[in-house]
């Protein structure tokens, strides 16, 4: 007989974990889903941010979530520069399919190996004042180490959605996903818009990195498990649907956490992949997406 309290706890912490997956996937939903730039180095960039934040915060005691907001613009600028390179060398030549994928894969390896060379292969983490505290909701515990990053990621996602709906640039980003040429007639340069949007997606990776380092210790290769997770979430959502990405991430967090509770945490990486394959085989357009095959 299953213990209902155990399951309730697994579901609640799965939802909190889902918020982390949501912010980790949101950047990829923008770059892969909306801009059609398959940035498989996205999880590696997130882990890079985690390590930078850990290096900044562990000795000084500065809060990692605030630090993430501070370094996000730096990552954004780097991302914008990276997109310019990508556009110049791959998109314009029409070489995205193979050379572009290889480029991001090479970038992922270079980031990971650089982290190993600079920080060593050990795990890094940050001590926070709230790390050991927990809110109780009846028998269900809400550890602050999970709750605060979850709230931060929800706030950032809300800001992102508002920006995409309300601002001119934001709406142009949504437009570039639908029809690049039509955008030109409206007097907006699609390449400039894509540069802004890709920069934003990398900035989101930095914020996700800040959330990640609060939730769990990180090593140079932590990105590997996230590759399966974030791609599963983005595809499950239907490429480019941001509210769908949030829902898919929450569903995913719950499924993974309940699996870990029932069968042991060693099996949780397999959840991402099985789900990903199931989605690709059965419903490649995702839960909320239009056909994109």
């Amino acid at each position: 007989m299953l213990d209902p309290v155990l399951i309730a706890n697994a579901v609640v912490s799965g939802l909190l974990l889902g918020c982390l997956y949501a912010i980790a996937s949101m950047g990829l939903a923008v770059s892969f889903g909306m801009l059609d730039v398959v940035n498989i180095a996205h999880p590696a960039m997130m882990v890079l941010a985690s390590c930078v934040i850990a290096a900044l915060c562990a000795p000084t005691g500065f809060d990692p979530l605030l630090a993430a907001l501070l370094i996000a613009p730096v990552f954004g600028l780097l991302g914008a520069g990276l997109y310019r390179l990508y556009h110049l060398y791959f998109e314009r030549r029409g070489d995205e399919a193979m050379q572009g994928l290889a480029f991001f894969f090479g970038l992922m390896i270079v980031i990971e190996v650089s982290l190993v060379l600079v920080y060593g292969a050990d795990q890094r983490w940050v001590e926070t004042g709230y790390g050991g505290l927990s809110l109780g909701l009846g028998p269900v515990g809400l550890p602050l180490r999970m709750l605060l990053p979850a709230l931060m990621s929800l706030a950032c996602i809300a800001a992102l959605l508002l920006w995409l709906r309300r601002s001119f640039t934001g709406r142009a980003v949504a437009a570039v996903a639908q029809d690049r040429d039509a955008l030109r007639f409206l007097g907006a340069d699609p390449i400039r818009i894509k540069t802004v949007a890709f920069g934003l997606s990398v900035a989101l990776a930095a914020i996700a990195g800040g959330c990640l380092i609060v939730v769990q210790p990180v090593d140079a290769h932590s990105g590997h498990v996230f590759i399966g997770r974030v791609l599963a979430v983005v595809i499950l959502a239907g490429l480019g649907s941001l509210p769908g990405t949030l829902v898919a991430a929450l569903v995913f967090g719950v499924i993974e956490n309940v699996t870990a509770t029932l069968f042991g945490p060693a099996w949780s990486p397999a959840v991402a992949f099985s789900l990903l394959l199931a989605v690709l085989a059965l419903r490649p357009q995702g839960m909320f997406g239009r056909a994109h095959a």
Partner: protein
């Protein structure tokens, strides 16, 4: 002699020459180094069958390779089968794995196949880590026999085995290039929609290519437990195999089997030297950096550079 026959005779002659040269050197380290270089030649040629001929990027080299290695471990442990039988079985297992992955994802845009293969390594590794019989996370030991048949030295036997596999792989790749399968794959690479409209059975051709490519990768991994004597999931599923196979092929050039052979020979020879002098992490950093530089600046690889240089010589 016809061209295919000439190629196969040439390959066999090159193989015999290599064995004779290494016999003259007669050094265990030479057999070891030769084995690793040939293993990467086979992996790169196999990777290129899918990527170069049909334009589909496989990020799961490590998964197919490790599936082959673990087939050997399991068959040796359960039935104590001979390594040669294990190699064939590994080819079947990894080929079937490729077929399954392809069947699930190859009907979609190419990038989905790449994504699925990328996580394949993570999941297979999870399976093996949770499987105590296969050694679990702590790994498995394989007893290496003293000698084998006519080979007094087991290192020499492993080298010759990998040599035969690599040359066989090249012969298969060259055969595919000339065959209807190769032509069909080329139409897929150039314009899949047009190919399908013209009646090319695109899905079937892609599935055949994935199965052959995966099977070859599995065979490349099958002797690994004997080569290393000890194998843990981390080493078997290391992304190093994936990045190397990709980088070697893209650096050499993807247009034919010559590119991956050149890239693999160059890069893995360099790596063998570099691992001795600098760390393996630094080694990987160089591979990643060189890969990025090549895809940006020389997208057609070394072969493309040579062709461009020759072309310029003609016009001048």
């Amino acid at each position: 002699m016809s061209r295919p026959l000439r190629l196969n005779v040439g390959l066999a002659a090159a193989g015999v020459a290599l064995i004779l040269i290494l016999r003259l050197i007669d050094n265990d380290y030479a057999w070891y180094t030769g084995y690793v270089i040939l293993q990467y030649v086979l992996l790169a040629v196999a990777w290129n069958i899918l990527a170069g001929y049909s334009g589909y990027v496989n990020f799961g080299t490590a998964a197919f390779f490790a599936a082959g290695a673990y087939t050997t471990i399991l068959l040796t442990k359960a039935l104590n089968l001979d390594l040669l039988v294990c190699v064939l079985a590994a080819g079947l297992v990894s080929g079937a794995l490729g077929l399954g992955m392809g069947w699930l994802t190859l009907r979609l845009r190419g990038v989905y196949f790449s994504i699925a293969t990328l996580s394949l390594a993570v999941v297979l590794q999870t399976l093996v880590v949770n499987w105590p019989y296969a050694g679990g996370s702590s790994g498995a030991y394989t007893m290496r026999p003293q000698g084998y048949a006519v080979f007094g030295n087991y290192s020499e036997f492993l080298f010759v085995l990998m040599l035969v596999l690599a040359l066989g792989g090249i012969a298969v790749a060259a055969g595919i290039e000339r065959s209807r399968l190769g032509l069909g794959l080329a139409t897929i690479r150039d314009d899949e929609r047009a190919a399908a409209a013209a009646g090319v059975p695109t899905l079937r051709l892609k599935l055949i290519a994935t199965a052959i490519s995966g099977g070859m990768m599995g065979m490349a991994g099958a002797p690994l437990p004997y080569y290393a004597s000890y194998l843990n999931p981390e080493a078997a599923f290391s992304l190093t195999h994936t990045i190397n196979a990709m980088a070697m092929t893209l650096i050499g050039g993807t247009q034919g089997w010559v590119g991956p052979v050149i890239g693999a020979t160059l890069l893995s020879t360099l790596q063998q030297g570099a691992t001795v002098t600098i760390s393996s992490a630094g080694n990987l950093l160089i591979v990643g950096g060189v890969l990025i530089l090549f895809v940006m600046l020389a997208p057609k690889g070394i072969l493309g550079l040579i062709r461009a240089w020759r072309g310029r010589g003609d016009t001048a």
